[in-house]
């Protein structure tokens, strides 16, 4: 349709209103041509008769009621798709920004995607070895899972994500294609650059698709960024049988963009000003992880979000936790104690791990070790809070043992080098070594049989003295 509408009726934040526009589809894409020759993209977000509300992706700076001509493109937002995407860099709205020209599209995909029929899903079981003890043993990442990292400003979540990407790649089986889709939403230039350099160093850059919406880019584009990224991921996974790891950072910036957009539309706010549909909106992103019956590929998501004020009950981490299949929580006190990666074990969880570990996947004793480590570390916390009241000397012998276990656990198990890639056997054996610091009868989460096989106080001797 080449009809152009001259002028606008109203401008309000990122929204513009047009009157007397017939025959427009809901969520249709709009091109705004400015007098200076530049163009901007927008999307129809509300229709009332011939009155149309449009959300402008690049912002409304410089628009006036007169200097704009509007063209309706007659289709929803689409992303050109082809395997050429790999190794390329795009803006948050899916335009190439690496100067290598447009993508020659094999097909176009609606960036909103479609809900996956639960019947067509394959339940994820294949574990991804990350080589990081805390994750592999205690919150195993499964292919097709969505496992976010809950972090805070200034913590090493980016470093951890890079290590996961690098080591997960190494652990891939031969002959299986692996690629990374990276979506940056409102992150600093430095952070985006850090990821790019790290991908380069670990030799995956040619298999990375990057969508960058930096913190100084328009917020409306930020709402499109994860959708473009996931559309690319689904295409590569389901039509080219690749295993895709989608890293999305920072989901908090995304949610804030959504809030800004919602309030400019005049919607009724829910908690902390976020729109009432934040849950559904986040779900429409996270639920795009998975494996389907008809393809060999998979989409695994690692969304990263910074908890404002380290508050896990803030709406963004809270709603994320309700949708994702677990979470990896980073703890500030561990970070300050110099532990890397500072994984706060107790609130962290992987919901899918129970079916992807044990005999045939990792090792038969895996679930016993992880349950016992969790339970023992929970007791360490009790002992610590008691010690802070009555002093460490006053603690019972058992509590003292737990304190010692806690220290060693953090020092040897959680803490590991940025380039240290531990096998699952190393990790589980290390877990047993540490558990042997504790009296045998206090290991109540383990079957006697397993305990007989692995328990030997001598194993713990290396931690003493």
């Amino acid at each position: 349709m080449s009809v152009q509408f001259i002028g606008l009726k109203e401008i309000n934040g990122p929204l513009v209103v047009l009157d007397h526009v017939p025959d427009v589809g809901f969520e249709e894409i709009v091109e705004l041509l400015l007098d200076d020759g530049s163009t901007r993209l927008g999307r129809v977000v509300q229709i009332e008769g011939e009155r149309v509300v449009i959300q402008v992706f690049e912002g409304t700076n410089g628009l006036s009621l007169k200097n704009t001509r509007t063209r309706f493109l007659g289709k929803p937002m689409e992303l050109p798709l082809s395997t050429e995407l790999l190794g390329r860099i795009f803006s948050g709205a899916g335009k190439p920004i690496d100067g290598l020209g447009d993508i020659y599209a094999e097909k176009y995909g609606d960036i909103n995607g479609k809900p996956l029929n639960p019947v067509s899903r394959v339940y994820p079981r294949n574990y991804i070895r990350t080589g990081i003890s805390s994750i592999d043993a205690l919150m195993t990442l499964i292919r097709g899972q969505k496992l976010p990292i809950f972090s805070g400003s200034g913590m090493s979540h980016n470093k951890l994500a890079v290590q996961i990407v690098r080591q997960a790649k190494i652990a891939e089986d031969k002959g299986q294609k692996f690629a990374v889709v990276f979506a940056a939403m409102g992150v600093k230039n430095d952070v985006a650059d850090y990821f790019r350099r790290s991908f380069e160093e670990s030799g995956v850059l040619q298999r990375v698709v990057m969508f960058l919406n930096l913190s100084n880019d328009p917020i409306i584009e930020r709402i499109l960024t994860p959708r473009c990224a996931l559309t690319a991921a689904e295409y590569l996974a389901y039509e080219h049988d690749m295993h895709i790891l989608v890293v999305m950072t920072d989901m908090t910036s995304y949610a804030e963009a959504l809030r800004e957009f919602s309030s400019s539309k005049g919607e009724i706010p829910g908690r902390k000003g976020y729109p009432g549909y934040l849950y559904s909106d986040l779900a429409s992103l996270y639920e795009r992880a998975g494996i389907i019956k008809t393809a060999k590929g998979s989409v695994t998501q690692i969304p990263i979000l910074t908890m404002p004020n380290d508050d896990i009950t803030h709406p963004v981490p809270d709603l994320t936790g309700y949708i994702t299949e677990g979470q990896i929580v980073l703890g500030r006190s561990l970070e300050q104690a110099g532990v890397y990666p500072p994984v706060d074990v107790l609130p962290s969880l992987s919901r899918l791990m129970k079916d992807g570990i044990g005999e045939g996947y990792t090792r038969a004793d895996h679930s016993a070790v992880s349950n016992q480590l969790f339970a023992a570390y929970a007791k360490v916390q009790d002992a610590r809070s008691l010690a802070s009241v009555i002093g460490e000397e006053e603690l019972s012998a058992e509590d003292q043992q737990y304190l010692e276990f806690g220290r060693m656990f953090e020092k040897h198990f959680l803490n590991q080098g940025f380039y240290e890639d531990r096998t699952i056997e190393q990790t589980l054996d290390l877990g047993w070594d540490l558990l042997c610091l504790l009296p045998k009868e206090s290991l109540d989460r383990v079957d006697n049989e397993v305990l007989e096989k692995y328990y030997d106080p001598k194993r713990a001797e290396k931690f003493k003295g």
Partner: protein
């Protein structure tokens, strides 16, 4: 007729200047014929909520009335099936449109080609009233489907087809109503999802829903026909608890509603339930289960409807005389769907943006539970177990608070228990069950008169421990006198050995009431014998050194469910070991 779309805002569309629609009528919207429902009428505009994505819809597209409210199709083929929130079969949709769900799918809810082996139970001349059974057919190997006359009909049977195999739309009998109309009876009927199906009368809920989960059956039981809420933050095991109940509870039929939850979880239910064998019938669990899956990324309006679809299916089977349990995971997502649609309608919000009618909608839902005498004179029940996902794990938020008013059992899941991997993470101090008194007779007669006494004692150990822990947190356990130390020890046995239950252990995943009782008795025996010894001035540490507490902590694993006689050995061991001290 020119009813056309005027405005579009997400799932809410309006039609201007029409009087053709009635409230809650089902309509088809747009060229793709998306399913919608009328939710507001003024003389200027009719407001419709659409159950599918409205992307690409234009003003001026047609809207077709159907003249009937949103209804569920009820008939054989519901069990072992999986539907979306408005009863569209997901398996057939997969065949039609592949792995991703397309809009405008008009697939019949139930398989219209499958033939059932029908036995007619009426003969010409029989007078039937609403709810009476006129035919039966085996729907799955374990459930006999009973075709009942719609509650709105009555009359005389004038023609009956011979027994044989029929599809759900074949006429199997003809009924003459008092007005003289002839109604053709098939194997299925329709019922509006927002209207409760009528019953003869409500009966008291005096039988427990036996779940095999110790903390529930013993401490916090729910009655058949009762209501329970499971609130808990993420990662506290709501879904896990619901799955355990769906697998093991002694209802005849399970309706599992995945309302705004994860897609992978529904896949897991599908896979697990088809592999698991029901211990009572020896057949696959799917034979007694139906799933409603409206995952979080499926359209929000259909999520709102999924709860009603689910309970309508449940009521239908209750009317046949079955005991049905509904797992609704999660009612918070349903409440959020209400909020989202209410926001689009620009209604005045009450607490936290939720509409002011949230409490009345919740009570309407929970009140559809109950132990009933059905219209055909049988007894059936609908038990509702609703998960609640409070924002920020804060139980003072509106959905949890309002739910609490309408349910009689409250299983509060606790984050700190979950962090310590104590599952099921039901907090025994903040949870409650109002059914204890109602169920007393049942426990006395069918388990043992001792059951509730033991329960009381176990409860008192936990309550006592709770008090003592406040002191212990301040000054440590060492300063307590020995009788209080004994409480701490025995309460630990109760917590770890009794309340904690391992869903992945073959024996521990389901524990019969007899074993639960014997476990309690063993714990109580140890406590009482130890107390006698402590009264003689012997410190509790000497008893702990005997390993008796640890022995009872492990009894859930050491004694198989079918060898309960092994419990007798414990009494012997306790006696011998304690006598060594003297």
């Amino acid at each position: 007729m020119n009813n056309t779309v005027y405005s579009i805002n997400g799932p809410v569309v309006t039609v201007r200047d029409t009087k053709d629609f009635s409230m809650l009528e089902m309509v088809y919207v747009g060229n793709k014929r998306l399913i919608g429902e009328v939710i507001g009428i003024t003389d200027h505009a009719t407001t419709i909520q659409v159950y599918e994505s409205t992307t690409g819809m234009k003003p001026g597209e047609p809207v077709y009335p159907t003249g009937a409210p949103m209804s569920a199709t009820l008939g054989p083929g519901i069990l072992s099936n999986i539907f979306d929130g408005i009863e569209r079969p997901l398996r057939s949709m997969e065949e039609a449109s592949g792995a991703f769900i397309d809009e405008g799918n008009s697939i019949p809810s139930l398989d219209t080609e499958k033939k059932y082996d029908v036995t007619l139970t009426v003969k010409p001349g029989d007078q039937l009233k609403g709810g009476d059974i006129y035919a039966t057919c085996p729907e799955t190997p374990v459930i006999l489907h009973k075709c009942m006359l719609s509650p709105t009909l009555k009359g005389e049977i004038v023609e009956v087809s011979p027994n044989g195999s029929y599809t759900i739309n074949d006429t199997v009998a003809k009924l003459k109503t008092p007005k003289g109309e002839i109604v053709e009876l098939t194997l299925c009927q329709k019922w509006p999802i927002r209207t409760p199906r009528p019953v003869a009368k409500r009966l008291p809920s005096d039988r427990p829903l036996i779940t095999g989960q110790r903390v529930i059956d013993t401490l916090l039981p729910v009655a058949k026909g009762g209501t329970a809420a499971v609130p808990g933050g993420f990662g506290t095991g709501k879904t896990m608890t619901q799955h355990q109940l769906a697998k093991w509870c002694d209802a005849d039929i399970i309706v599992y509603i995945g309302c705004g939850e994860r897609g992978n979880e529904m896949t897991q239910v599908l896979e697990e339930f088809s592999e698991l064998i029901d211990p009572k019938t020896g057949k696959a669990l799917t034979d007694r289960t139906t799933l409603i899956a409206n995952t979080s990324n499926m359209p929000v309006a259909a999520r709102e409807a999924s709860i009603y679809t689910g309970i309508t299916l449940a009521e239908y089977y209750r009317d046949m005389g079955y005991h049905v349990a509904i797992m609704a995971d999660s009612t918070s997502r349903w409440a959020e769907a209400l909020r989202e649609i209410s926001g689009r309608l620009e209604e005045m919000p009450a607490e936290e943006g939720f509409p002011a009618y949230l409490p009345s909608r919740l009570s309407e839902f929970y009140e559809r539970a109950g132990y009933m005498e059905t219209l055909c004179g049988k007894e059936g029940s609908v038990t509702i177990i609703g998960a609640v996902s409070p924002q920020g794990s804060d139980f003072s938020e509106p959905v949890t608070q309002n739910t609490k008013r309408f349910v009689r059992t409250f299983w509060a899941l606790d984050k700190s228990l979950a962090y310590a991997r104590h599952y099921p993470a039901i907090n025994w101090t903040t949870s409650y069950s109002e059914y204890i008194d109602d169920l007393k007779d049942y426990f006395d007669k069918n388990v043992s008169p001792d059951f509730l006494t033991c329960r009381q004692k176990i409860n008192s150990y936990l309550a006592e421990e709770n008090k003592l822990m406040e002191i212990v947190k301040l000054i440590g356990a060492d300063v307590l006198p020995d009788d209080q130390k004994l409480i701490i020890e025995i309460a630990r046995v109760v917590r770890v050995g009794f309340l904690q239950q391992n869903a992945y252990h073959k024996d521990d995943t389901y524990v019969p009431l007899e074993k639960q009782l014997k476990m309690m008795q063993a714990i109580i025996y140890l406590y009482e014998q130890s107390r006698k010894i402590i009264a003689k001035g012997i410190p509790v540490s000497e008893i702990s050194d005997l390993g008796l507490f640890d022995m009872l902590t492990r009894m859930k694993y050491d004694i198989p469910n079918d060898h309960l006689e092994l419990f007798d050995n414990y009494y012997h061991t306790i006696d011998t070991k304690l006598s060594q001290i003297k």
